[in-house]
């Protein structure tokens, strides 16, 4: 019996459990959506539903649909990663290992090409950003509320990126941090505004692209409903209610707005993250400061 090619029963069992754990959060969110959806005849645009409210000192803390969907995506991606890394071997045997190796290689190539060798450890973070953003946008394929069409979720991501930018500016010390704002002397106010505008523009770019797709999809859906009502409205009974124009045409829009635009925005968000973070880090000054510190330490020792 060749043990290396055939999978053992235990391996398959663990695989099944991991796959179930991957799809369970999505199924849970779908059930939650079916239970809490408010039925309405019109096509309407509304924000995320509020599930719970907590009283907090400053204002109420709302647990909304967007947050719950976002958690579901996070848990799902977590188990998907464990599933893909299950049964890794030094020499690739399974298809999932080849897929995973391709993903890791591409991400490292992207990070090395855009950020340079010094930011090599950023690849997992960038892959996480892309996966989270893309899968959040793709959640609308299940008919769920995509977390990326809520401005708060994306503002959270953009604030995390802003924190990273500030961290890398502080790598050259507090004086270097202030100096980085006075790059052309006298441009301090503009640079400060630029620093504040970075997370705002990242938020608006991602949110605006996704929400414009949602708005256009809803408008086209409503228009097609009205049009098919005009065409078939004179027919008696249930025949007049058939929304025949709504079959197929919104799917074409969905391919662009849900799949293409969602993945493109994930890529652009990751690209901008890389550009801003690597732009905030002044490598020459960092090396100089490191050298000076080492020199000081050596002199102090003597």
């Amino acid at each position: 019996m060749n043990k290396s090619t055939s999978k053992t029963l235990k391996f398959i069992l663990v695989d099944c459990v991991l796959l179930t754990c991957t799809f369970l959060p999505i199924a849970f969110v779908i059930i939650l959506e079916i239970l809490t959806r408010v039925p309405s005849d019109d096509i309407s645009l509304s924000g995320a539903q509020i599930f719970f409210e907590f009283n907090m000192p400053l204002q109420k803390l709302y647990i909304t649909e967007a947050q719950v969907n976002s958690w579901a995506v996070i848990i799902s991606i977590f188990f998907l990663c464990i599933f893909l890394t299950h049964g890794l071997a030094p020499k690739a045997k399974t298809k999932r290992q080849l897929l995973l190796e391709w993903v890791v290689e591409q991400t490292e190539k992207l990070v090395n090409g855009n950020m340079g060798e010094i930011f090599k450890n950023f690849a997992p973070f960038i892959a996480t950003v892309i996966a989270l953003s893309a899968f959040s946008s793709l959640l609308s394929l299940f008919g769920l509320y995509p977390p990326t069409s809520d401005i708060n979720i994306i503002a959270g991501w953009a604030l995390a990126v802003a924190g990273l930018i500030t961290y890398y500016r502080f790598k050259c010390g507090p004086i270097g941090y202030i100096k980085s704002f006075c790059d052309p002397i006298g441009m301090l106010p503009l640079n400060v505004i630029n620093e504040v505008a970075t997370p705002v523009s990242m938020t608006f770019r991602h949110y605006g692209n996704i929400i414009s797709g949602v708005v256009v999809s809803v408008l086209v859906g409503a228009g097609l409903q009205g049009l098919s009502h005009i065409v078939l409205g004179s027919l008696p009974g249930i025949l007049g209610e058939v929304p025949f124009l709504q079959i197929g045409i919104p799917a074409v829009l969905s391919v662009y707005f849900d799949i293409f635009s969602g993945c493109l925005q994930a890529y652009i968000f990751a690209m901008l993250t890389m550009m801003y973070v690597s732009g905030a880090f002044n490598i020459d000054e960092f090396e100089l400061r490191k050298k000076k510190k080492a020199l000081k330490k050596a002199n102090g020792g003597n």
Binding site: L45, S201, F204, R205, Y207, G208, N209, I211, S212, V215, L264, Y267, I268, M271, L272
Partner: protein, 93 residues
């Protein structure tokens, strides 16, 4: 009188949203220019197609930002502003 006030609020919010979206002209022209130049570049050097395409998509995304600012302002004016304005009106009465 109250109906008139609410009508003015709703009408002005809709007008403001429409005027805000005039900003969509700028990104349209800018992205058109970017894509035209990218096509020229690919025509001259077909081997650099992938690099030109990814750079163009990045540039388009950045050029789009001003239009998206206008879009967010318009969405706020349509969906958020009328409610706040009516609340202000009710508390003033």
């Amino acid at each position: 009188m109250f109906e008139l006030a609410i009508g003015i609020i709703l009408g002005c919010c809709a007008l403001g949203a429409g005027i805000a979206m005039i900003a969509g002209i700028g990104p349209g022209i800018g992205e058109g220019n970017a894509v035209a130049k990218a096509c020229e570049a690919i025509g001259r050097q077909p081997e650099s197609k992938s690099a030109v395409t990814s750079t163009m998509i990045m540039g388009c995304a950045i050029a789009e930002t001003t239009g998206l600012y206008a879009l967010v302002v318009a969405i706020l004016l349509i969906f958020v502003a009328p409610g706040i304005m009516v609340d202000v009106l009710l508390s003033a009465i």
